[in-house]
């Protein structure tokens, strides 16, 4: 009898443990919650301007809430935004995208993300060029899509082309600590959407190289191919080259990878890097018909030359900036761990002195149904 009574008492307490009490003001009805999915940060005077946007959802872009407020810190700005949303409670537990203006200090922002109990380290961080986060978030979208949907689509596209390389807050923070520099994906706003309306969209605009907390260089969208090859994160990418008649031929590149072999001198000093990049290609479009073996050989050579040129541009930039944003140090360490640990000079500082030999090998596997 006593046990049953205890069991009954314990069961009676269960509803109190669900966390849905008005105690400490944590209670919110689900229909009153607005789930913030995109968070934008700009500088404003000596503080920050925070912009929050929800997704379009079933009711389209008209239902999107986009609020913004200034404050000396992110938390202060967030509480001001919250106070402006008088009808509904903003819920930041499902933020999927973080966009930041060009002049926002990066490392303090990343530290704030790390400390936050709401934000996730695996959310992509986008750097805006030529626009502010507030402007981008308020103007992007059309009838059915808002900024969150557009950014999700951009991320999906980037993931497919470079195998999950929309750089997340966690990856950027780790790269900055490990390599001293990191890559950020850059977005350009204000572009006209291709749906015939006057709607605006956001487009990928390459990458920013961050070193010592500031952007030290910008790379165009064409850098994606080289970055994903050199960081061994290759997805599926298209490349158009001129064939022997000067006409365009488009190829689909897949299964790309690279090997970095360090070259040491007799004193154990790192003299250079021997980099080999390999990939396979499929011919998508060409004006040549029928295809001949000499044509294919020539096209393969041109393809290798084009990829080689892109890699060379990236490697030259890395050397001139003394920034190991391609993660070459980790590759050298993986190949010769003991020798790498004995290096007296940090790897990024060695970069300008390294002789880099580059080999690109490709195989044209097939050209789909026609031959």
């Amino acid at each position: 009898m006593k046990r049953r009574l205890l069991l009954f008492l314990a069961a009676a307490f269960i509803p109190l443990l669900c966390g849905c009490g008005r105690l400490r003001g944590s209670f919110s009805r689900l229909e009153e919650l607005r789930v913030v999915q995109t968070l934008g940060v700009d500088t404003a005077g000596s503080g920050l301007r925070l912009t929050l946007a929800t997704a379009a959802g079933d009711r389209g872009a008209d239902d999107v809430v986009c609020l913004s407020a200034e404050g000396p810190s992110l938390a202060a700005a967030l509480s001001r935004v919250q106070s402006r949303s008088t009808e509904e409670t903003l819920f930041c537990g499902h933020v999927r995208q973080l966009v930041m203006g060009e002049d926002v200090p990066l490392e303090p922002l990343l530290e704030t993300v790390c400390r936050s109990a709401d934000l996730r380290l695996d959310m992509p961080l986008w750097l805006l060029r030529g626009t502010s986060a507030e402007a981008l978030m308020s103007e992007v979208g059309n009838g059915s899509r808002a900024v969150t949907e557009v950014l999700n689509a951009v991320r999906g596209e980037l993931d497919a082309r470079s195998d999950s390389r929309a750089y997340t807050a966690g990856q950027i923070l780790r790269d900055l600590q490990r390599q001293g520099s990191a890559l950020l994906c850059v977005l350009r706003g204000g572009a006209a959407a291709e749906d015939g309306t006057d709607a605006r969209t956001a487009l990928p605009a390459g990458f920013a190289v961050v070193k010592d907390g500031t952007v030290c260089s910008w790379l165009g969208t064409e850098a994606l191919l080289g970055i994903s090859l050199l960081r061994n994160r290759f997805g599926v990418q298209e490349l158009t080259v001129s064939d022997r008649s000067g006409r365009p031929a488009t190829l689909e590149l897949r299964q790309g990878s690279s090997r970095v072999r360090p070259v040491w001198d007799e004193n154990g000093a790192l003299r250079g890097l021997d980099i080999t990049a390999r990939f396979t290609a499929s011919l998508l479009e060409t004006a040549e018909s029928p295809l001949s073996e000499p044509y294919i050989d020539d096209l393969t050579a041109r393809l290798e030359s084009a990829v080689s040129e892109r890699l060379r541009v990236l490697l030259t930039r890395s050397k001139s900036l003394q920034a190991d944003f391609l993660g070459l140090g980790s590759r050298v360490e993986a190949a010769s761990p003991l020798a790498f640990r004995r290096l007296e000079t940090p790897f990024p500082e060695l970069l300008p002195t390294l002789e880099i030999s580059l080999t690109v090998q490709s195989r044209l596997l097939h050209e789909y149904d026609l031959h």
Partner: protein, 373 residues
């Protein structure tokens, strides 16, 4: 007296170390050993196996019904025995209070940022009091019931997070990492040492036929080392040592990032809530062991308890006193951010390590010299 089976005793050891393992291991090991931290169990294992063998040998020669407290009284006699038992119970209460406070801190940091830790410290302390008022067998059965649940959740999370591990975060590991790896073994020794040491207080309650324990402890150590290695692999492989050493709760940050089947996410509140169970067991064990030591030092025989929660005879009023002391410690500990961190990173691991690995060898040494063994 209701006895504990050897199986329940082993599961109790396994469950109690899950709290300290998630709280301190990934971060402490990453700070010490960097990328090689995931191999920290390798250098720790031979030492632990030797120590486990020594403990098993030591207890095989003790009469049935001898736990750590009884062994201390037997070796040190009526003069020094109680002094050591007071000291041990003081540490157990301090450690119980620390676990209450750090468990509350975990809930505040990961799920309830606007809450005060005192609410969690107090409520958990009271729950542990109810458990400590019962019998040792109830605690052991609780451990046996909770272990599959908590370990199952942990394994599931680790397996899911292994798919996003990056090789560059874990390799290469070279001979030059050996000194760092030796340092990285210290947190592993700390966690597994606690798992070896704290259950010694309960050996008096174990079934006599459950002994010898040596083979069981070897299997236990191998299994737990594997689990800790898996934990380190998942956390370090996802974030890298540089980031892990800066995160205050790296495992729960990892859980926050997990997405199951592209639809289920943000389950960290549930997982953090599950870790209430190992904390509950650990604090309850500390309270139980502390009152056991105190009552034995004051001349009582706590082994004869029948586990009646409302019984206040034979100094059993000391149990709520112990709970009150642990709750007070929990409420007063770490009022500032850095004081709790200092305790968590330096003071408590150091005390744990000393007591886990020095208490029994010292008893053995003194017993041999005084010929009381």
């Amino acid at each position: 007296m209701k006895r504990i089976t050897a199986h329940q005793w082993t599961l109790m050891s396994s469950l109690l170390l899950l709290g300290p393992a998630l709280r301190q291991l990934p971060r402490a090991a990453a700070e010490q050993a960097g990328r090689a931290a995931w191999l920290g169990a390798l250098p720790a294992l031979p030492l632990l196996l030797l120590y486990a063998r020594f403990l098993a040998r030591f207890w095989e020669t003790r009469p049935a019904g001898t736990g750590l407290a009884e062994a201390a009284m037997q070796v040190l006699g009526a003069r020094w025995g109680p002094v050591v038992l007071y000291a041990l119970s003081g540490w157990l209460l301090f450690y119980g209070g620390f676990v209450l406070r750090s468990g509350a801190d975990r809930l505040v940091v990961t799920v309830y940022p606007q809450s005060a830790p005192a609410v969690f410290t107090l409520s958990m302390g009271l729950c542990c009091l109810i458990a400590a008022l019962g019998s040792a067998r109830s605690l052991a059965r609780t451990a046996a019931m909770l272990w599959p649940f908590v370990t199952g959740i942990l394994l599931l999370l680790l397996l899911v997070s292994l798919k996003s591990v990056e090789r560059v975060n874990l390799l290469p590991v070279t001979v030059l990492d050996l000194p760092a790896l030796a340092h990285g073994a210290v947190p592993v020794l700390n966690v597994l040492g606690l798992g070896l040491f704290l259950p010694l207080f309960f050996l008096g309650y174990i079934e006599p036929e459950a002994r010898p324990l040596a083979a069981r402890r070897v299997r236990w150590l191998l299994g737990e080392s594997l689990l800790l290695t898996l934990l380190m692999l998942a956390v370090l492989g996802n974030f890298g040592a540089e980031l892990v050493s800066r995160l205050s709760q790296p495992f729960f940050t990892l859980v926050r990032n997990l997405v199951f089947f592209r639809s289920l996410e943000r389950i960290e509140a549930l997982v953090v809530s599950c870790w209430i169970f190992p904390d509950f067991l650990l604090v309850s064990l500390c309270l139980f062991a502390a009152q056991h030591c105190l009552r034995l030092a004051l001349g009582e025989k706590p082994l004869l308890d029948r586990g009646n929660r409302l019984d206040a005879s034979r100094l059993r009023w000391l149990i709520p006193f112990c709970a009150l002391a642990a709750i007070l410690v929990g409420l007063l500990l770490g009022p500032e951010l850095y004081s709790l961190r200092r305790l968590s990173e330096r003071t408590v691991p150091f005390l744990n390590l000393c007591l886990s690995f020095l208490t029994v060898p010292l008893l053995y040494f003194i017993g041999k010299r005084r010929k009381t063994l």
